[in-house]
Amino acid sequence: MLSFNWSDSVAAIINTSSETLAANVDFNSYLSISPDDVVTIFSPNPELGQNIKTSFPMVVAEELDADWKKVKVVQAALDVKKYDRQLTGGSGAVPHSWERLRKAGATARHMLVEAAAKKWNVAASTLTTSNGFVIHPNGTKLSYGALATDAAALTVPTEVKLKNPKDFRLIGTAVPNVDNKEMITGKPLYGLDFYREGMLHAMIQRPPSFGTKIKSVDATAAKALPGIVDVVTFKNNVAIVGKSTWEIMKARKVLKVEYENAGNIESTSDHDKLFKELLDKPEATVRRKDGDVETAFKNAATVIKREYQCPFLSHAPMEPMNFFAHVKADGVELIGPTQTPDRARMATAQLLGIAPEKVTVELTRLGGGFGRRLQADYVVEAAELSKLINAPVKVTWSREDDMMGGSYRPAVRYRFEAALDTTGNLIGYKLRGVGVNAGNSTREDNFPSGAVANLLIDSIDHQSPITTGAWRAPITNFLAFAEQAFLDEVALAAKKDPVQFRLELLEKAKQSPTGAIKYDIDRMKSVINLAAEKSGWGKKKNLAQGFSVYFSHRSYVAQVAEVEMVSGNPVLKKIIAASDCGIVINLSGAKQQVAGGIVDGLGHALYGQVTFKDGAAEQRNFNNYKLIRYNEVPQVEVHFVDNGIDPTGLGEPALPPTGGAVANAIFKATGKRLYNQPFTLQEEMKGVKLGQKM
């Protein structure tokens, strides 16, 4: 059936990290230079759409003074000796690696200048660099390629001077994604695109309900079908192994597996009931306690108490879960999309009882991750299967497997309480979070903590067989909505403008802080002011505006949502965002991170939910797990604060504020308060036709 050589046409392109040209001169883990002036920059972190594969090399190239047109970016395989924190999560890569990337480029630049100085017999300090050349004061130039061999032989300097950010010429510009051409022409980049001659395909039937285990397996009919090589049962998995994807998909339909209960069988209705009980429970894990909350609430002129609930969500990356594994006598080869290659390596080594050094991990591009690919379950599973069948195998998940197979964003319910004095001052604040496998469902040091004298934040977690995990902007992806919607109501009760109310609280935190303050007050104020200014806050007559501001993952984002009433129905017209992530590395990538984060936050706030019936997810594909589409997106306007501070990440921070801004705008337009997600399925939205217009 395979009429051409896979290893030439497909595998070679994916295993890019091993194809470095022999003639290249290596300077450090991040870069090498060829005699013909091509600068190869290795990008170690997994690329899943956060644009790290473009922005990381930009930082190296900036300090190197490379000609970007001659830069070739290569995805590095896992290499724990060369790189650290080789993972994608928590919007942490840029702040972690900023300085080391700059040093990698600056060190090579320093050595190239030294080599030129020797050649010309002049002091290095008289030389300059630009666009891939070292330049003599008399105008003579030597290219980096011509100097590379001599330069790399020099002693590596321990200290190098980094550029003054004022002199950046690449950082801060809009640089197109380095993989654009490959992506728009359909080149094999992703894990699912990996094929190798002799490789087998597999799909795994996992328990459809959480809290069950296999009772019996009858694979007779499945094994008899064409193209099926084997059906293997291990742990709670039944793997169908075959020669092609469609053949194993068909065999799955005739596979008979019986399951029996092995733990709690839970439904969403159980969780709804449980949340209410837990919210009233006297004992909880105290996360933060300032002042005397009881007295504050006793003395309050007004008390506002509200509850908010969010459902489980599926990560649903567009590329279904998959991984290739080949367990051989002398080691294990893992190839595929993972946010955490080292976790995958360690977990595989542990499972197979071998040394981690025996496991290699090649990174493909990831067709999205959103936190799902932080887990190693699907990698380990592929390795275990490869060992059992003694063959190279690619395990592919169907969309249904993905949505039923867990690591969901946990379902959570919050109760907020605020105490106001007679003049509308916030004198007391309480928050309890209760969740299903959510851990600490609060972020106790987030605003308005520090601005309220009497405050209590606690949480209770329910342990469930339903597996959960980090979902893009963990916890804050919903907490921010609840908190910002609540603050809107509190501002209203205090008879204050929502923006003014937040600014006053921040001023209070500055003048008379209570307890630790873990956010930068001035930076938060600056995004609030920028969003208010750019949106013409409070000045637009025919538009209802809703405000939200959130600090998460070390970046600050404020958003204003604008709703217009058209024929009696609210139409979401625009969301204006002001972000402070410090120095913007790639303006094109950064703008899209914010726009995409807003679309993601909006889509899940409007439509997203996974409900459970007897332990099984009820939404199993995009026909009833609704993702936001082209015609459901409002305009988005993105602004950045320009403050020259060292950069922080943007993969997550723009998502959390969106739900709150939209809910607050809908309230202003319609008088209807939204407390639960997804918005479109709530009682309050019955008969309301929410429109969007891009």
Binding site: I184, E247, E319, T396, S398
Partner: protein, 153 residues
């Protein structure tokens, strides 16, 4: 299993597969044309969009037995050099994030513009709403379709 001869990107391809095999898996598993993506398997997300005689179709729900003599065009065959006006626009606007859905998005946009070179905003929305982008690049998709429209001869 049955032998099929289909026209893909202007070439005749012979495959031996079950008659109900979706075109998607013929392209990917049999022909090595992996630019066409698997996303949902139920014609909901559009990641598997290809052209059948110039019309955008979901290859995950189209069995090989239904192809007959129709001409199949995949992302690999949309242009020789990757310079179809839609592909050019996608690059100029810097559309992709993770990029997984983009081949399908481009095929939907190219089919729209081939029939209607100057679509209205509503016509673009109708044509593009069948393709999900989980990263949320919809604003850039819109910008790129408008730009590609201006490039169409």
């Amino acid at each position: 299993m049955a032998a099929y001869s289909i026209n893909v990107n202007g070439e005749t391809k012979k495959v031996d597969v079950a008659s109900d095999t979706p075109l998607l898996w013929v392209l990917r598993d049999s022909l090595g044309l992996v630019g066409t993506k698997f996303g949902c398997g139920i014609a909901q997300c559009g990641a598997c969009t290809v052209h059948l005689n110039g019309t955008a179709v979901r290859s995950c729900a189209l069995p090989i037995s239904a192809i007959g003599t129709s001409k199949v065009t995949t992302i690999e065959g949309l242009s020789k050099e990757g310079d179809h006006p839609v592909q050019q626009a996608w690059q100029e606007v810097d559309v992709p994030q993770c990029g997984y859905c983009q081949a399908g998005q481009i095929m939907s946009a190219a089919a729209l513009l081939a029939k209607n070179a100057k679509p209205t905003e509503e016509q673009i929305a109708t044509a593009m709403s069948g393709n999900i982008c989980r990263c949320g690049t919809y604003h850039r998709i819109k910008e790129a379709v408008v730009l590609a429209s201006s490039k169409m001869k």
